[in-house]
Subunit: 479 residues, 2 copies
């Protein structure tokens, strides 16, 4: 029983979320033996408590808002959303929180799954404590990839534990619709979840420490979404009057949040969407001289500084806490591990096959709210902070024919940041109904470093919302 | 009364559709005096009888189909579309076929509008016959730009005139919903209008001479749309069994079309969507040695071969019969006219400011049906005909997470054509709900000549339909 089994692999991956899965996919494709260690569900946060359930919950909200903006159709879209059908569809998309499908996929690529808690117990060594308490030691000839992701970070508020607050996990997996919901935070999780639950029937109060929502995007993104949330009936409180929640308690089943201005807000549930922390506190980082609970800085091949066998991929490296960006890093890390294993020279220059260059210059993000907000690259403030000489041009999306045809009374805005020296784009932000699929055009323009002179030859189809591109180019030309 | 007024301008533009408007916009911006001649409505075919009304009619159809594919929402989308509201919205979008707004815009840029029929009466000379029969002669110091567009081409069928058939004009402007509608043709107008009228309550019979719909796109586009039209209740007859309509008559108000296989099809209206003819038959081409009624071949600056003062822009040059491509040509023609007027050297190499290079390599098109079909650049067949060494990779869109989240039971397909020598894209085709805004990403990739190695760094946001890009790149890598 206490005997410890030891297995040796080329690669050991800690964490079987989309990031770990993609690292394993690439190392397996290169013929490297690969073990994957997972303490919860294969598929990770994204599949069960983030992207998938949140989008399954948001899609009906967005589609309903879109339908109600179309003359001739709006009349036939009556009554509220069928919340139980929405929740059931969400359950379907999370496979009812069962991971058989993803386990089958890992098996199909020939990776070995170890269920249990994995901890580094020295260089190139991971010890897995299984559900039965048994231990197995995995040795990695080539690399260990830490892909353990992040968890919700809760503030140190008096009374918080006893309240049993929601985090992103409960907010995406709740089986019932709370009558009243307080949402603390102004980022993506807060705005998306406020949107969902208000639409499913909750009375939502959104408490934002800062001046506005989505502080990492251009200011108009948060402004337009805050306005829409208010129109949907949510109580949105931003700015200095509610700087922070001072205490929370649960009294007779009711949550009471007291703000620093003395306001008492009652609700049935309270969601803290106040940031993320790395899941590195209990993975044995101390055995190799690193700080438990810290983010893990990496180079562009996703290798941890100072450890030539250690990779940190996805949220844990704190480069860009987004599933798609983690998967991108995973493809590159997997390729880098494989190249180093065979002694191949890395293509490590910017935009090379082994350099996660997009992490610096071209990270895209879509916020699936109504209106949708989408951005790639730098905001104007970020571009100026980075010392780029840039010009920002804005377009009111309601002036684009395709936008007005998409939705009656269309409201939205676009901004393009042009580098004045290279005339390539540093960033693009789009806010409005239906822009979620449009941002990839900007992602290709930014990552592809397509200059403005060439973008004039990329003709948007008429009449689509994409014609905003023409308006942006005209605005830049005429500025 | 018979006295003829003569006015001299730098530029005379024949036709005030979007193309003529954009030529004038650019020549005016360059400080050139500009006259615009229009015999019908300022704003042209697109504003009153094509893009705008058709999209205003199609949007509710598409939005309803989308809404009914979303669990939790579909239950609340009941009954048919409100046809009268849809038609009223279409009327709003065509400004009730009044052009005051567009006349005001022409005025605002300082172009002079001449209402009447314009004909060339010699080099650099246009004679306008006004509504009152009065004539004015316009002389162009720099250039005449023919932007008269195209009209529906009708086949020479026995009995056709007496039937008063619909063309694209009647199909987009009808004030009533015919009980039964025959649509002849398999191109964009035919498929879009069959989609609209079937959804608004007509029983549509679509008769297609060829094997399938949308013959200029990848075959799967027409296949998926034909399937959807059949599911919507339309009678779609393609292939050799109905090769052509032999005769049409109107008997007691009912149209009867007899096919070459002897089938008699009865309907209330019949739409011929059987191609386009250039509106050059009565514009005085014979006075400068050109053939009336012919398309006008041009070089990449949109100048007519052999006439250094004559430009043909938009449909009339037969390069790409699409409003957005005509507007693109108009921007380039306007810039070329201005450059030549000032003796500036043209940037005439491919992708230069005075070369309509996208006409050859990167024409995008969106068909606003359910499902939407969108393509840019070359199809596989076209790329092979052009002698490119290419590889085509396909992706079933139902395998993309964002597609499944967008619509339950998502059906769609994507194809990417990669040039094996340069590893740039020759073409992309996307078919499925919600892909209309997605094609511009491909347009930027194709026009920007972004190589596959760089496209790997253009990360699609998760979970969007745009993640089809990742699947396409993987398919190419693993092929």
């Amino acid at each position: 029983m206490t005997e410890t089994e030891t297995n040796t692999y080329d690669v050991v991956v800690l964490g079987a979320g989309p990031v770990g899965e993609n690292v394993a996919d690439r190392t397996r494709a290169a013929g490297l033996t690969t073990a994957v260690v997972e303490s919860e569900l294969v598929g990770g946060e994204c599949s069960y408590w983030a992207c998938m359930p949140s989008k399954a919950l948001l899609r009906p909200v967005i589609a309903r808002a879109d339908a109600r903006r179309v003359p001739g159709l709006r009349q036939s879209v009556q009554g509220p959303l069928d919340a139980s059908a929405v929740l059931a569809h969400r359950d379907y998309y999370t496979s009812n929180w069962k991971d058989d499908g993803q386990v089958g996929w890992l098996d199909s690529i020939g990776a070995d799954l170890y269920r249990g808690h994995g901890r580094l117990t020295g260089p190139r060594t991971v010890t897995v404590t299984g559900p039965d308490g048994g231990e197995r030691v995995l040795t990695a000839r080539q690399a260990v990839a830490v892909c353990t992701g992040s968890r919700a970070a809760l503030p140190g508020l008096p009374g918080l534990d006893a309240v049993e607050p929601w985090t992103s996990r409960e907010a995406t997996s709740s089986k019932t619709v709370p009558g009243r919901l307080i949402v603390i935070g102004g980022g993506v999780v807060a705005t998306e979840m406020a949107t969902v639950w208000q639409a499913l029937g909750s009375q939502v109060t959104l408490l934002v420490r800062g001046k506005g929502l989505l502080p990492r995007m251009e200011p108009f993104a948060g402004e337009l979404i805050a306005e829409a949330l208010k129109e949907a009936g949510a109580d949105v409180r931003t700015g200095t009057s509610v700087e922070s929640v001072e205490s929370v308690t649960r009294e007779n089943g009711t949550v009471v949040a007291v703000t620093d201005t003395g306001d008492r807000i009652e609700a049935d549930e309270i969601l803290f969407a106040t940031g993320r922390a790395p899941r590195t506190d209990d993975i044995g980082l101390e055995t190799i001289g690193l700080d438990p609970g810290s983010w893990l800085p990496v180079d562009d091949s996703l290798r941890v500084d100072g450890h030539d066998w250690l990779y940190a991929v996805g949220d844990v490296n704190h480069r860009a806490l987004l599933t798609h960006q983690g998967k991108y890093q995973a493809r590159i890390a997997g390729a880098a591990i494989a190249a180093r294993a065979t002694g191949e020279t890395l293509v490590a220059e910017p935009w090379g096959a082994h350099a996660a260059t997009a992490d610096h210059a071209a990270v895209p993000q879509v916020v699936f709210t109504d209106p949708e907000a989408a951005a790639v690259g730098l905001s104007l403030a970020e571009a100026e902070q980075a010392g780029h000489r840039v010009k920002a041009v804005d377009v009111d999306l309601s002036t684009v024919a395709g936008a007005g045809l998409y939705a009656d009374g269309y409201q939205g805005r676009a901004r393009m940041i042009v580098d004045l020296e290279s005339e390539i784009l540093r960033g693009v932000t789009l806010v409005g109904p239906g822009v979620g699929e449009l941002i990839h055009s900007a992602t290709i323009a930014v990552a592809g470093q397509v200059p403005v002179s060439r973008l004039w030859h990329a003709v948007p189809s008429y009449p689509t919302i994409s014609e905003v591109w023409l308006r942006l180019l005209e605005a830049y030309r005429d500025a």
